[in-house]
């Protein structure tokens, strides 16, 4: 268990954000939520081991967030989640360097599996 590893959840839907933070907590991870990519980017305390980001966000999108992090020199893995997964979105996410892409609604195990692999990477 990587209890010392912080996971950031960037999701504008409040109840889903709370659910994801709760799920990660039940698996022993410390997690914190952000309502937008810009809120998350404004923190940058370097404690983040993995980011879970929604594609559709007010302001900077989840996919654009990957580029912004890389530009800032962060290599933190980003798991992209979206309710509108099509081949185009999936390809774009991978092209931009997403660690994995999940379509909502997803199995909890699938997310945890992605998180474990991301933290191990």
């Amino acid at each position: 268990m990587a209890a010392d590893t912080l996971i950031s959840v960037v999701e504008d839907d409040e109840s889903l954000r709370a659910a994801l933070v709760g799920l990660l907590r039940s698996f022993g991870y410390e997690a914190r939520g952000f309502a937008s990519a810009d809120d998350y980017l404004s923190v940058r305390d370097g404690r983040c081991g993995c980011v879970i980001a929604d594609v559709h966000l007010p302001g900077t999108s989840g996919i654009a967030l990957i580029g912004r992090l890389r530009d800032l020199g962060y290599s933190v893995p980003v798991i992209v989640i979206t309710a509108l997964l099509g081949p185009a979105v999936e390809r774009e996410a991978h092209d931009r360097g997403a660690f994995c892409v999940l379509a909502k609604p997803f199995e909890s195990e699938a997310l945890i599996d992605c998180v474990e692999r991301a933290l191990a990477a």
Binding site: S15, L16, L20, S26, I81, A83, K104, S108
Partner: protein, 527 residues
């Protein structure tokens, strides 16, 4: 001779006081007396008439000839009748005549005395009345309106004592005494009906209706109108017109325009004239039109939903994803060596909330997709605007359209169909969104305002798109007119048909503060 002359002139003096024309002729037909009234009736003075043959001076224009009557007089001794004569000025006079043969006294020849009353004016009046009556009967019979003449005397006798008994509000009293209303229906006797009444009410002959009361024609639901008619009659209102339902003799409902009218004359006689016009066809056509309009609106809603399937999927997937994550967390808390039931309780509560949220979204979509009869209710326009924005929130966000609401407080409710009005608002918001797509996206903003107008509520949509540049296309609200590739161009004609069916109107123009389109929906408020 002098005595005779004196007698004659004294008699003539008396005769001149008589209102009837008096003409005396001898047995040879020569006029020997002619009073002032005769001079007035026929135009010849006494001096001009005396000595003339009466048959020549006043031949009969109509009626039996003078000669024939004269010939029969000797046997009968008298005759009475009506003839038409021509006066000196050429005008025909109708005269009621009485001839009597005065037997010759000793030493003098017999005389024939005529008294005549001019009845020309009376006959003309009678003829005019007959013509009027004929015309009325003709109209009564031939009009495409069902007419009823009702004897109201016994109804009056039934109700008028109520006033004496201290009943101030007749309507309220009758509403509380339905048996009295039914009694009034029974004693309102039908005097006459026309041919149209027979065909409309399914009667083979007048016997089936005339002579009876009217109770069987009034279904329970229409009783309040009968009460209103009774009250209006007693209040001496000149007429009453209302739409209602009546029953024919077979018990089928007739949708009718019901009119009652009273003239001063008919009121005196206690007779009421009712008119019934069959408006079933018109109402059926109106219902058909409403159904077509509703079907069209439904088709448009389904088309709109089609364009929103991605958004709807997104909206539903959010709570489903949350439920899935919460369920995963709950299982995890249970699987611990010491299950954390507080955490399990918390996630179950969140699952319940997210399920409700998903169900609400499905319900919204289902309502939009439903094909149903429009249903009017009192609606708060501000709440409708907020619901519309909630419905479109995801699309507005993904188009990066900021929404600024300016909702007036204390607006009166409108009487409208919720789904249809929401459809209009969704349509206008989507149009605004599409107009701004690819225009100046950084400034994309939709301003929605509500305000009170005169007996109306107005909803204003102002976008920051290119607008109309001062020239709103004339056919903007016509069917199939669109400048956009998207199917939403179908929306505006349907918006207009919905708003106009609600008694309101919709206008397009440029927003006053710079580029952008403005749509204004005006809905009447409840009176």
């Amino acid at each position: 001779m002098r005595d005779a002359e004196a007698d004659r002139s004294e008699g003539a003096g008396i005769l001149d006081l008589v209102h009837d024309g008096v003409i005396v002729r001898d047995l040879a037909g020569t006029i020997v007396e002619w009073n002032a009234a005769a001079a007035h009736q026929y135009g010849w003075t006494r001096a001009e008439a005396v000595g003339r043959k009466q048959a020549e001076l006043l031949p009969h224009m109509r009626g039996e000839s003078f000669e024939a009557l004269d010939a029969g007089l000797e046997a009968a001794g008298s005759w009475e009748g009506e003839v038409t004569r021509r006066a000196r000025d050429g005008r025909e006079r109708v005269v009621e005549l009485r001839w009597s043969l005065r037997a010759s006294a000793a030493g003098s020849a017999g005389r024939i005395v005529e008294t005549g009353r001019d009845v020309t004016d009376r006959r003309a009046t009678e003829a005019a009345l007959r013509l009027n009556d004929y015309r009325f009967r003709n109209l009564f019979e031939a009009m495409a309106v069902s007419f009823w003449e009702i004897d109201f005397n016994r109804v009056g006798a039934l109700l008028l004592p109520l006033r004496g008994a201290g009943v101030a509000d007749l309507r309220a009293y009758l509403a509380d005494h339905p048996e009295l209303v039914r009694e009034a229906m029974r004693v309102a006797r039908v005097l006459d009906v026309n041919a149209r009444t027979l065909s409309l009410f399914g009667a083979a002959s007048k016997d089936e209706i005339v002579g009876d009361g009217v109770e069987r024609f009034w279904p329970e639901a229409s009783v309040p109108l009968f009460v209103e008619a009774l009250a209006a009659t007693l209040e001496k209102q000149p007429h009453l017109i209302s739409e209602t339902r009546l029953l024919d003799l077979q018990g089928r409902e007739i949708e009718a325009l019901f009119t009652v009218s009273w003239s001063a004359e008919s009121r005196k006689q206690g007779v009421v004239l009712l008119g019934v016009i069959d408006i079933g066809d018109r109402l059926r056509a109106e219902r058909m039109l409403r159904k077509v309009q509703a079907d069209l609106a439904h088709a448009a809603r389904v088309a709109t939903l089609g364009e929103f399937t991605a958004s709807i999927a997104h909206e539903v997937n959010q709570p489903l994803a949350a439920i899935s994550a919460n369920a995963g967390a709950g299982l995890r808390w249970l699987e611990r060596p010491e299950p954390d039931l507080d955490e399990v309780g918390a996630v179950l509560a969140r699952i319940a909330a997210d399920s409700r949220r998903a169900a609400d979204i499905i319900q919204r979509v289902r309502t939009m997709a439903q094909r149903r009869e429009p249903e009017r209710a009192e609606l708060c326009v501000n709440a409708l605007v907020e619901e519309t924005i909630a419905f479109l929130r995801h699309d507005l966000d993904s188009h990066r359209v900021a929404v600024a609401l300016s909702l007036a407080g204390g607006l009166p409710p409108v009487h409208a169909d919720r789904v249809q009005i929401q459809q209009v608002l969704v349509n206008l918001a989507v149009n605004a969104m599409q107009a701004m797509a690819g225009y100046d996206e950084t400034a994309a903003r939709l301003d929605i305002a509500t305000e009170a107008g005169p007996q109306a509520v107005r909803i204003l949509f102002e976008d920051k798109g290119p607008g109309f540049g001062g020239a709103v296309p004339e056919r903007l609200f016509d069917g199939f007119f669109t400048t956009k590739a998207s199917g939403m161009g179908m929306g505006l004609p349907i918006c207009r048909s919905i708003i106009e069916a609600h008694g309101g109107h919709i206008e397009a123009g440029d927003r006053p503060d710079g580029p952008g389109a403005r749509f204004v929906v005006t809905l009447p408020v409840l009176a």
